[in-house]
């Protein structure tokens, strides 16, 4: 529209003339170079989970473990322990994750001011990467809009063991269709800008809690295998 096309055309023409010596077709050139780094981890499932927990704790995240049966009680215990009352939940969060006895607001279009009033948030996740201690949100209905896990100071994230991969490339192989919105969270908000001293909690949530739900591991392993085949 208002964009003067002159600059676009000039820049692209300069680039084309600068790279005119390149003759290999793009696709072939892209496929040609070696990618000999580690793609698949070697750890057994239990060790993979243990590594994730270790990494998360290094980042000062709190981690507890549960089974599908004990999950609601584990969530209730975390909420009670936080000392907070007002929580927000993504629209798709399972109803039995919203522990009774707390003030819940479900995000069906809450304003920023309303979310800012909340003291905590509970979400699911898309997956987690053990090697770097990273939780991945693709912001689906159980993970919530981006702002939901940002403004409240306290974030409880529920992870199923089957969602845990060991390496970063394993995560990418789980998303053949690149998602439009992604947030990776590796520990609570932090900075080291003053004398390289790591300080927890700048603008994002200062407290990150994770409940790791065991037991679905066997079933989902076979699913994952199936997908790969």
């Amino acid at each position: 529209m208002t964009q003067p096309p002159a600059s676009r055309d000039r820049i692209l023409a300069n680039i084309r003339s600068a790279t005119s010596a390149v003759s290999t077709p793009v696709e072939a050139a892209y496929a040609a170079f070696p990618r000999s780094y580690i793609h698949h981890g070697q750890l057994a499932p239990e060790s993979r989970i243990a590594l994730l927990i270790e990494r998360l704790r290094e980042y000062d995240a709190e981690v507890v473990e549960a089974t599908p049966n004990t999950l609601p009680a584990a969530i209730a215990a975390q909420l009670a322990h936080s000392g907070k009352q007002r929580f927000v939940a993504p629209s798709g969060l399972p109803a039995d994750w919203r522990a009774p006895g707390f003030n819940w607001q479900i995000d069906n279009g809450l304003t920023h001011a309303e979310i800012e009033q909340a003291e905590g948030v509970v979400t699911a996740a898309f997956c987690a990467i053990a090697d770097s201690g990273t939780i991945v949100l693709h912001h689906g209905p159980t993970e919530g809009r981006r702002v939901l896990s940002l403004l409240p100071d306290w974030h409880l994230c529920i992870l199923r063991a089957s969602q845990v991969v060991e390496t970063l490339p394993e995560y990418f192989s789980r998303c053949p269709q690149p998602p439009p919105l992604v947030t990776w969270i590796s520990g609570p908000s932090a900075t080291a800008d003053i004398e390289m001293t790591r300080i927890k909690g700048v603008h994002g949530p200062r407290f990150l809690h994770v409940i790791l739900v065991h037991n679905d591991l066997v079933r989902d392993e076979s699913e994952a295998m199936h997908v790969k085949v």
Binding site: T2, Q3, S7, R8, I11, L12, N14, I15, R16, S17, A18, T19, V22, A29, Y30, F33, P34, S36, Y37, I38, R55, G109, H112, A113, E116, D131, S132, G133, T134, H139, R145, R146, V147, L150, L168, F172, C175, P178, P180, L181, V182, T183, W184, I185, S186, G187, P188, S189, A190, T191, A192, D193, I194, E195, M196, I199, V202, H203, G204, P205
Partner: protein
């Protein structure tokens, strides 16, 4: 702390001049040394635990080189995918055009305030002063950038722009500039936690009320039209999520072919930049998503000489840079001077090659010389930019420029080089000059066999190091006079020029910095970079390793030899 350092390469003094006040500022040097030591130690540990580090480096390097070779294709793909997802793509040939595009977009929004995620590209185009003079208040939201902005300082590092400032200096800036009530300002301590909390409070209201934000981009994904931003504090997520309008300024070189390529880039970036396995927050977004985040999204693609750099085969690799800052943390020059001496928002080794090129070799010609060519930057570079190679290439260009200037006839260095050219052209001239030098230097050689001070240009060497006196005999003289084969006549074959074998005997002493090593009478010191405990070299090691290995090896074999001789 230096107030208002000049980071405009068109105005900044040459590096040696700009470095002097930094070298004379012990507080600054202490702050820089501490910060770079901490990052380097963390980086070394995390790189060592990565058994496939060299494979990741190779893949990262190949990916970046491939993206640059096909830059036109990938940029057009990015443009069409981003546009299809609801973003608007703008193209800016130079800094002035980029500034104007951004200001026009802000005017469309009637913006009087804007919040910013840290972006060095915006510093490159000097965006903040431009917007301020047009009546738009700019709020930097990254803690380090906030320290810089409130302190009216300039960034000295591309990842940690305020690493030259210590906690008590930060306290002073915050107490003075945050508009805190008097009692709160006085109660503010220099505890980093308290200072961080002060920044959180100061910016919270801005995040929730300012409707327009500006970001940079760590990567543009051609396949999807997405943008990636890596950060630590959550200020990025705030700016990417809360405002109505987001403007992303990105250099055209930032594009990657596919989403999956991040599996390489994001394994090397945080480890190299901050010594973390992963930075706390990484965000990707694609155009506009209804109900989530800004509903107006613009990308400004900035050329500003990048396409010209692309056209130079040797220098093209400069554009592979992913701005991790590892090269400056390891650089023996940067670690002494800090970033401001480079007179550019891009300091350190990468700045020394990038800045002169961004300036079309019209300014900052002293920067290619702001390096000892030790190669440490190349070793740590996660995308394998051969910085020493580019430095040498740029030095050649600077010399070519000087060749056309009449002032060269009055330049001692030029006259010296011309004289050397003349002398080296004929063996007999070289031979004669050796004899002359031996006689001449005898005047300056003390009884201990060392030259402690020389006049004129020679003083530049002897101010900081001693020079070994010339031996009584050259290799060729010794060869001609050796008793075993008395029939052979002295040859003038250039292959047998004095030099190669006998030079090794001196090299250790020549390289060694005797004056700074009083406890080392032999003068045998390894340059500090080579003795760093960095776990590299590893398989696939860059060629500089071979050079440095040869140096160290030579001296070692020399000391072995002297041991034998002593026995």
């Amino acid at each position: 702390m230096s107030l208002h350092p000049q980071l405009d390469p068109t105005l900044a003094p040459p590096f040696p001049q700009a470095a002097l006040p930094m070298l004379r500022n012990p507080q600054l040097r202490k702050n820089v040394a501490h910060a770079t030591d901490v990052i380097q130690a963390k980086r070394a540990k995390l790189v060592a635990e990565k058994t496939d580090w060299q494979q990741l480096r190779s893949a990262a390097s190949d990916l970046r080189a491939h993206a640059l070779e096909n830059l036109g294709f990938y940029l057009e793909q990015f443009e069409s995918r981003c546009t299809a997802a609801g973003g608007q793509v703008h193209w800016a040939s130079d800094a002035a055009e980029a500034r104007q595009i951004i200001l026009d977009l802000l005017k469309q929004e009637n913006a009087t305030e804007v919040i910013k995620i840290k972006t060095m590209t915006s510093a490159e185009i000097q965006l903040n002063p431009f917007l301020e003079s047009a009546g738009v208040a700019v709020f930097e939201t990254d803690l380090a950038e906030l320290i810089i902005q409130l302190g009216e300082d300039e960034p000295s590092h591309i990842v940690a722009p305020a690493l030259h400032v210590n906690r008590s200096q930060v306290r002073e800036i915050f107490a003075r500039r945050m508009g805190l009530p008097k009692n709160e300002a006085e109660a503010l301590t220099d505890d980093p936690e308290a200072l961080t909390a002060a920044a959180r409070t100061y910016l919270r209201h801005k995040f929730l009320t300012v409707p327009t934000a500006i970001s940079g981009a760590n990567f543009l994904i051609a396949e999807t039209g997405s943008v990636a931003v890596v950060e630590s504090e959550g200020n990025g997520r705030m700016c990417l999520t809360l405002p109505r309008t987001m403007i992303t300024l990105a250099g055209i070189e930032k594009v990657l072919p596919r989403f999956q390529d991040l599996e390489v880039m994001l394994q090397v970036l945080a480890r190299s930049a901050t010594g973390e396995r992963m930075n706390p927050y990484t965000s990707f977004w694609t155009g506009v998503t209804p109900g989530d985040g800004p509903q107006h999204f613009h990308v400004v693609l900035l050329d500003n000489q990048r396409s010209a750099i692309l056209a130079r085969p040797n220098e093209r690799q400069t554009l592979k840079c992913i701005r991790c800052g590892a090269c400056m943390n390891t650089c023996p020059v940067y670690r002494q001077t800090g970033g401001h001496a480079y007179g550019s928002v891009y300091p350190g080794p990468i700045g020394a090659i990038l800045t002169p090129q961004l300036m079309q070799m019209q300014h900052a010609q002293s920067l290619p010389y702001a390096s000892s060519l030790c190669g440490a930057c190349y070793e740590v570079c996660p995308v394998k930019i051969n910085i020493p190679e580019v430095l040498i290439d740029l030095r050649a260009q600077v010399v070519d420029q000087e060749r056309d200037q009449p002032a060269r006839f009055f330049d001692l260095m030029y006259i010296g080089m011309k004289a050397a050219d003349f002398i080296f052209a004929r063996p007999w001239r070289f031979h004669a000059s050796q004899r002359l030098a031996r006689i001449g230097l005898r005047l300056f050689t003390r009884r201990d066999g060392w030259i402690h001070s020389l006049p004129s240009l020679g003083a530049k060497w002897t101010q900081t190091r001693d020079l070994r006196g010339l031996p009584k005999q050259t290799f060729r003289e010794w060869y001609a006079a050796r008793p075993t084969n008395s029939t052979s006549s002295p040859s003038l074959d250039p292959e047998e020029m004095p030099g190669a074998p006998s030079m090794h005997r001196h090299s250790g002493a020549w390289v060694g910095d005797r004056k700074s090593q009083p406890g080392n009478p032999s003068g045998e010191t390894r340059p500090s970079v080579l003795s760093s405990s960095d776990p590299e070299p590893k398989p696939g090691a860059p060629s500089m390793h071979r050079h440095s290995g040869a140096w160290v090896g030579d001296r070692k074999s020399q000391s072995d030899k002297s041991k034998k001789e002593a026995q």
